[in-house]
């Protein structure tokens, strides 16, 4: 996983509520078996509209997505965060995120930052007013800073440590391989299992 500590960049304001993962990556693009290359499918339908914010030249090169409430609901498709990552995004800032989407972000080192409604609104307005506005997200200090907004955010300390160090979850879990072995030794034999095919 890619480590994250401090990031400064320009932002793309996606001023819509309840953006679901079917919008982030439409299902037709989920038939691929590759892990990479989903950037061109990001907001696959919406981007067909030339006026869609992602197509506006003033936001080209944005690395921070400003989102509305309940971003990333619906399907568990990790392709949604892969597409954001592949399109160059490192951070998503919004008032709230769907659970599975947030988890998926943490797995690949894309940082979801929850801020109060009014702070997201202020950032959104600032960026729409001046697309060159830079925002800094500091995971060490747990702070978001821009010209108009200086706000702290929360993240559980374990996830923060994992992100700062860029640690792989499977490696971390395998530290407890003995505990998994021990658990399996005492699992009830009546629990269902499928004979090896």
């Amino acid at each position: 996983m890619r480590a994250f500590s401090v990031h400064t960049g320009r932002a793309l304001p996606l001023d819509r509520a309840n953006v679901d993962t079917d919008q982030i990556v439409p299902a037709e693009h989920l038939r691929r078996i590759e892990r990479s290359g989903y950037g061109p499918f990001l907001f696959g339908e919406w981007r067909k509209d030339p006026g869609f914010v992602l197509n506006r030249p003033e936001y080209e090169g944005a690395t921070i997505l400003l989102a509305g409430p309940n971003f990333g609901g619906g399907s568990s498709r990790e392709h949604a965060v892969w597409a954001l990552e592949d399109a160059g995004f490192r951070v998503v800032i919004g008032p709230s995120f769907a659970d599975i989407f947030r988890n998926n972000c943490f797995k690949i080192g894309l940082l979801p930052v929850e801020l109060p409604d009014e702070s997201v609104r202020a950032l959104m307005d600032a960026v729409m007013d001046d697309p060159a506005t830079e925002i800094t997200i500091d995971l060490n200090e747990l702070r978001v800073s821009a010209a108009v907004v200086h706000e702290s955010f929360e993240i559980d300390p374990y996830t923060r440590w994992r992100l700062l160090e860029g640690l792989d979850d499977i490696d971390l879990t395998l530290r407890y391989a003995d505990a998994i072995d021990a658990f399996e030794r005492v699992r009830a034999p009546r629990l269902p299992s499928i004979p090896r095919s």
Partner: protein
């Protein structure tokens, strides 16, 4: 001494492999369901890291999302994905129910059907509708592909303790109100993000009165209310459903299992982090009008005036005008299927409405059984003949028109009455317009040509 605990807390506690201050709990996974879409990158990740599948015997796979539901060629991209799953399962020794196999079907239909879904288990799958399995009193939730890889490698997942929410539905359900209407009513109340961070436990007399299939419909759509998992405490209905199924315990194991399962329901006095109460007697058949599953009204209502920019956008996408009676909206297509409503009881319900009627001329109607065994059972009961005589297409099992990644799709602007779970923009195909309904309303609508209940047909 341990105080009173909820069902979710009990199931959680018995699966903690490792617990340390400041770390998420490491939870053991009893059953990992796998399908073709969210697994290839996980298997590839294992290969790149030189890791093996730890417990192929606790893993089962099927093909459902991108399979065609009629005989014919499969597009090359989908075929590659299906072949990749077959190869990955063969290499790892994982049991796979591929297309053409009688065991094949939607992953959330075949697990319960095989008796693999049991009370007290932790069940995961790279699919958000894994919440379905919570109907048995299992803790079941959807995961992303990185987590699929993690479970394949370790049979565990690091998880933060969720909050608990009680949704209590008391009273008798009025005639014509189905499990689908109950969950749509719940989502309308709590909103699409209302259950975020929570495991929902559905409680109360109206839930207890539902069959296992009705409970599955309810738990299935927990994610549409933002909750990764929804649960119903196991009871005699649960046990009767499970007894005798292929992978259910038998003999002395059955007795031992029963005793264990009876200890799972939430203790009196256990506290939930939040509680919602719903009066069953006030529920009516629901129809969604917008582009998220909380945007619903009852069939007796009209399309609401937009409350904000998001609902104005939804109305524009759906090409609906405020004030239009729901019964005056005329779908082009009716779809009965999906992991929400494709089980035998759903098909019986719809066939019961359709018997002796014809689908309205010009309307396309299809029914897609959730599994090949459901299809076989329906054919034994003659339901296929009712559907075909009414003018429905009778298809093979799969996710079909629920999600727009196989050939069963809406065309731009096409309006569909669908028993599926999501009415997002383009969900059933680019530009398609989805109205979520129950199987009974879907069937009555197919006959009437506009949204209708079975009672409407008798008038």
């Amino acid at each position: 001494m341990i105080g009173p605990r909820t069902l979710a807390e009990k199931v959680w506690e018995r699966h903690v492999v490792h617990r340390a201050e400041g770390e998420p709990d490491l939870l053991y996974v009893d059953l990992h369901l796998v399908h073709e879409v969210t697994s290839p990158q996980a298997f590839e990740g294992l290969r790149l890291a030189g890791r093996a599948v730890r417990r192929p015997d606790l893993t089962v796979a099927t093909m459902d999302h991108n399979v065609p539901t009629v005989a014919g060629p499969v597009d090359p991209i989908s075929r590659t994905q299906m072949e990749t799953l077959a190869r990955n399962c063969a290499d790892a020794g994982i049991t796979l129910f591929p297309t053409g196999d009688l065991g094949q079907g939607i992953v959330h239909v075949i697990g319960p059907q095989m008796g693999l879904t049991q009370p007290g288990l932790v069940i995961v799958c790279g699919d958000s509708h894994t919440s379905t399995h919570g109907a048995f009193g299992a803790l079941a939730f959807g995961i992303g592909t990185s987590e699929v890889e993690h479970v394949l490698a370790t049979q565990t997942l690091p998880q933060r303790t969720p909050k608990t929410m009680a949704v209590t539905v008391e009273g008798d359900l009025p005639a014509g109100v189905s499990a689908k209407d109950v969950i749509l009513g719940i989502i309308a109340r709590i909103g699409t993000g209302g259950g975020a961070g929570h495991v929902i436990e559905y409680r109360g007399g109206a839930i207890r009165s539902l069959s296992m299939e009705g409970r599955m419909t309810i738990c299935n759509m927990s994610i549409e209310g933002g909750a990764r998992a929804g649960m119903v405490a196991p009871d005699e209905t649960t046990f009767a459903y499970l007894e005798g199924r292929p992978n259910a315990p038998s003999g002395a194991d059955w007795e031992e299992a029963l005793e264990d399962w009876r200890s799972l329901p939430t203790d009196d006095g256990a506290m939930f982090d939040s509680e919602v109460e719903i009066d069953a007697s006030e529920l009516r058949p629901h129809v969604s009008w917008g582009t998220n599953p909380a945007q619903t009204v009852t069939i007796d209502d009209v399309v609401p005036a937009p409350a904000d920019e998001a609902s104005a956008r939804a109305l524009a996408y759906m090409d609906l005008r405020p004030g239009t009676a729901i019964r005056d909206i005329r779908p082009d297509t009716v779809f009965i299927g999906s992991c929400t409503n494709s089980r035998i009881e759903d098909l019986r319900e719809a066939a019961g409405v359709l018997d002796g009627h014809r689908v309205r001329e010009g309307l396309r109607a299809m029914v897609v059984p959730g599994s090949m065994l459901v299809k076989q059972q329906a054919e034994r009961e003659g339901l296929d003949r009712v559907f075909v005589a009414a003018g429905f297409e009778w298809r093979d099992a799969g996710c079909s028109m629920c999600l727009g990644m196989n050939p069963d799709q809406l065309t731009p602007g096409e309006r569909c009455a669908s028993t599926s779970n999501r009415n997002f923009e383009g969900r059933q195909g680019r530009g398609g317009r989805t109205h979520l309904v129950s199987p009974a309303v879907a069937a009555a609508t197919a006959i009437a040509g506009h949204f209708a209940t079975p009672e409407d047909l008798e008038r």
